[in-house]
Structures are given as structure tokens and as C-alpha cells.
């Protein structure tokens, strides 16, 4: 005789430890799952005829961008607006920053003006960490130098999770300029936290620093596999992420030529066949079609590039919700 089975209790409330979102190297699996759950609810809001909820009414969010960005800034701006926050965009190149104001002074000004959350993109790795020390506002890192892009990694993880609910044990391949990629770094952290096996594939000159011998734990990045051959790297992969090859790398001496890179590392249909059937193709954008990815793959059935953009808004709404309000440390 068995009594009625009781389903495990879903938590009704949670302690959100993060006062800022600087990277996801300090996120636990449970916290990432909470972001997934909250994102699902936000997607429901986005599916309504009137996609606006009053959650952040009266809160001021500043987008402080020291680097050009279209999709990330737009995505944060829409996320904030759908939650009824007031949004101000500050483009550093045309503001008093161009007149020589320091980061710390700018933050002081924004705080005095009543910013509750500052979404910040900066060309220098670590800048958001300094910002977090000098302001009462909450800082969301929207990309800092080569270091981290946590919201992009979370939206990538969420997009994968929508297709493959349990990520544990799956195999991901990241192809491209990993050394200069904050997206890759944050994804390496996020994917390994979720139990995904990560393989990096790139010319040896574009491997990031801080990678230890395979299988050894080191402080800078979690253990990953390195496979310079794209054909071998793609073998039985569940998901493939290609990164943009920035044109300036071509002149940096790290690559012999773009044409060689295309020949050796472009994700093509012929190569994608080596991955598992239905393997997902991701790209953080903007895409250089015909360089790191062939147009046929970028627009193919396996590509989830447009879903990534759409999910970006919902993930950022979830993060703004989770950041708002809770007690200061």
C-alpha cells in the first residue's frame, strides 16, 4: 500500500544573495535555476497583448555604456520598461565622460541623481567591480573588457535549457576567439556550473590565459577540454557556440589570415554534421556571416540565434526583478 505521493516542495520565497551581477562565476546551480524559473514567468508577461507589469515602478535604471552596443543596451532598456522602471541611457562618448570625468565621479553623479540600478558596459576588465565599491546603486555588468558578460551567458543557458531542460552531462563546444571573449568566459563558468562538459576549439594563439592542465582545478577558469581540430571538437556535441572574429585580431599578428581562419574554423553544414543530430547553434552576435559561421548554418534549422535575442529581454527582466528591493548588505 502506498499513500499519495507528495511532490517535492517548490520554494515559495528565496534569499537572493547577489547585490550586484558582476559575473556568474559565483552563481550556484540553484541560483541559475531560479533565474530560469523567473525568466519563464517573464516570457509569459512578454506574450501578453499589453506587455507591462508594475513591478519596478518608481525605480530608476541607468544604462551606462562606455562601449558601443546595440542589442545589449536595447535589451536592457526594453526589459526595464516592461517592468515599469524609468530608464536613462548614458552614452559615455557624448557625455561629460568625454570631457574627462572619471568613472568614480560619474558614478557619484548617477547616485546623486537617484539611480537604483546601473547597467554598465566598460572596455576595461574589472571596471564594474570598482563601480560596485563606489556606489550605493546596484551594478549589472553588461560586459567588461575580456572578462565577463554574465547576462549574455544566462540568456545562452536559458535558451539551451528551453530545448534541453536538463543540461547535466551534455557536451558544448565553443569555437573562435576565446581569449578576447567575455561571452566565452562567462559561458564557461555557467555551462560547467550546470554540469555541461565544455570543449574549446580555436587557434592556440586565441586560447585564454588561466587555463590549467585538463582536469585540474584552477582559480581562473573551471576545467575544460581543448581540441584545436574543429572536426574532432564537434564530435557528438549537443550545442555549438561560435564567437565573432573581430577584424582587429587579423592585424594583431595572432592569426596568419582571415582566409586561413575561415578554412580551419568556420562552422559549416559539412562540419556541423559531426555534432549530434539537432545540435543547437548559438552565436552571441553580431554575426560575421561567412567568417566564423556560414550563412546556411546561421540561418539554418539548428540555429537558435534569434531565440537568444528574444530570450535576452526576459532574462534581463528576471535579473532586474531579482536584484531590486532585497536588503542591502
Amino acid at each position: 500500500m502506498r499513500t499519495t505521493q507528495v511532490k517535492p516542495k517548490a520554494p515559495e520565497a528565496t534569499v537572493w544573495r547577489h547585490h550586484h551581477i558582476l559575473d556568474i562565476d559565483d552563481f550556484t546551480r540553484e541560483e541559475i535555476e531560479l533565474v530560469f524559473q523567473t525568466t519563464r514567468a517573464m516570457k509569459e508577461v512578454l506574450s501578453r497583448p499589453i506587455k507591462r507589469v508594475p513591478t519596478l515602478r518608481g525605480k530608476t535604471i541607468v544604462n551606462l555604456f562606455y562601449e558601443p552596443s546595440t542589442r545589449t543596451r536595447l535589451s536592457f532598456e526594453l526589459a526595464a520598461k516592461y517592468l515599469s522602471a524609468d530608464v536613462v541611457n548614458l552614452n559615455a562618448s557624448i557625455s561629460s565622460v568625454a570631457k574627462g570625468e572619471s568613472l568614480v565621479d560619474t558614478l557619484g553623479t548617477l547616485q546623486a541623481l537617484g539611480a537604483d540600478i546601473i547597467v554598465m558596459r566598460h572596455p576595461h576588465s574589472g571596471a564594474p567591480y570598482i563601480a560596485a565599491r563606489y556606489t550605493e546603486a546596484r551594478i549589472v555588468n553588461a560586459g567588461d573588457g575580456w572578462h565577463a558578460h554574465p547576462t549574455q551567458a544566462l540568456l545562452d543557458l536559458y535558451t539551451l535549457h528551453e530545448h534541453k531542460p536538463d543540461l547535466k552531462g551534455l557536451k558544448a563546444v565553443i569555437i573562435g576567439d576565446i581569449m578576447h571573449s567575455r561571452v566565452a568566459r562567462s559561458n564557461i563558468w555557467g555551462l560547467t556550473t550546470m554540469g555541461v562538459e565544455v570543449t574549446l576549439c580555436c587557434p592556440p594563439t586565441l586560447l585564454p590565459l588561466g587555463l590549467g592542465p585538463i582536469g585540474l582545478d584552477n582559480k581562473q577558469l573551471p576545467p575544460v577540454k581543448i581540441e584545436p581540430s574543429i572536426e574532432l571538437a564537434l564530435d557528438k556535441a549537443d550545442m555549438v557556440m561560435t564567437l565573432r572574429l573581430q577584424r582587429e585580431r587579423q592585424r594583431s599578428g595572432l592569426l596568419p589570415s582571415t582566409r586561413e581562419y575561415i578554412q580551419l574554423y568556420q562552422l559549416t553544414e559539412a562540419r556541423l554534421i559531426r555534432a549530434k543530430p539537432g545540435a543547437l547553434v548559438l552565436h552571441p552576435g553580431p554575426v560575421n556571416e561567412g567568417v566564423e559561421i556560414s550563412p546556411a548554418v546561421a540561418h539554418g534549422k539548428q540555429s537558435v540565434i534569434n531565440e537568444q535575442v528574444a530570450n535576452g529581454v526576459a532574462v534581463r527582466m528576471a535579473l532586474l526583478y531579482l536584484l531590486s528591493g532585497s536588503q542591502k548588505q
Binding site: T38, A41, E44, Y321
Partner: protein, 184 residues
Amino acid sequence: MSKKVIMTEEDIKRTLARIAHEIIEHNELLKELILVGVHTRGVPLARRLAADIEGFAGVKIAVDTLDISLYRDDLSSLELKPVVKLTDISATIDGKSIVLVDDVLYTGRSIRAAMDALIDLGRPKSIQLAVLVDRGHRELPIRADYVGKNIPSSRHEEIKVNLKETDGVDEVAIIPMPVAKEGR
């Protein structure tokens, strides 16, 4: 902790059956009715009421779910952030009669939030409210159309509704609240 049980499994079952009869009595067009359960415990209560109504009147009633976290007026002051659950309103609510279902009616603020959330989703013909327990202490001009049990309580007590679907047991209890911590 001295817990006092005020409704047993049998009490809850009888009470819901009575509310189901009252809902049938007050709504001639049962087909136009939607039960909307407020997360968390309003959802299983709404499902049970729908099953009762189907049993008594032979009409299948739609059950939708509503999460009010994004509409709360106290988010900034909450130490524990509510986990946002899925709002699932399947069809249009325009012109429909809605019965909101929740476990405990207290200050009325949750119901205010629930009504705001519903009105953002459409223009229902009417909104009624069914609760298992009304414990008083209203802070807004809100009352329930269907009340399972009135439990006059002190603000220093907690009314805990446990349901099989969420807590493994059917029971309503009064629990004296722990002494408030200092510095809040």
C-alpha cells in the same frame, strides 16, 4: 511551538463542497465562469472547487492560475523575494465571470494585486472572491463573496493552510508567531 488545528481534512472537504454549491447558486451561466487560483495554495483549491462544481452541476469549469509577485506593493521591503510562478490564463477573460480563489484573506493587499493583474489581462464581466479562511485585519476595502471559515485572529498569530498538493496534508492551523527579531 503550540500549533492549534482549526480545520481538519474532513472540514476542508465539507467547506469546499459548500462553497462550490454557493458558486453554482450565484452564477447562472456556469459556462461563462473561470476559476482563477492565486499561487501557491489558491491553485489546488481552485482545482478542487472546479471538480466539486463539475460533480454537482455537471459543468466543466476552466481553471487558470495567477501569480501576483510582479504586482506586489511591498517588494522593496521584503527580505525574501517571492519566486515568480507561471501565470496561465488560457483563453480570453473578456466578458467572463471570474472567481478568484485564495487560501487566506488577510490585509486584502494580495487580492488588490490579483485584481490589478487580472485587469491587465483583459476586461472580465465580474470578479468574485472565494477564500478558505478569512482572518480579518483588512487594510483595503475588499471582502470575499465566498468564505470557508471566519477565524478571528491576532496579528501575532500565523494562519497556516496546508494542502495535500503543496504540503502533503490537509489542515488549517493557528501558530503563534515567534517573537519579532530586533532591528526590523
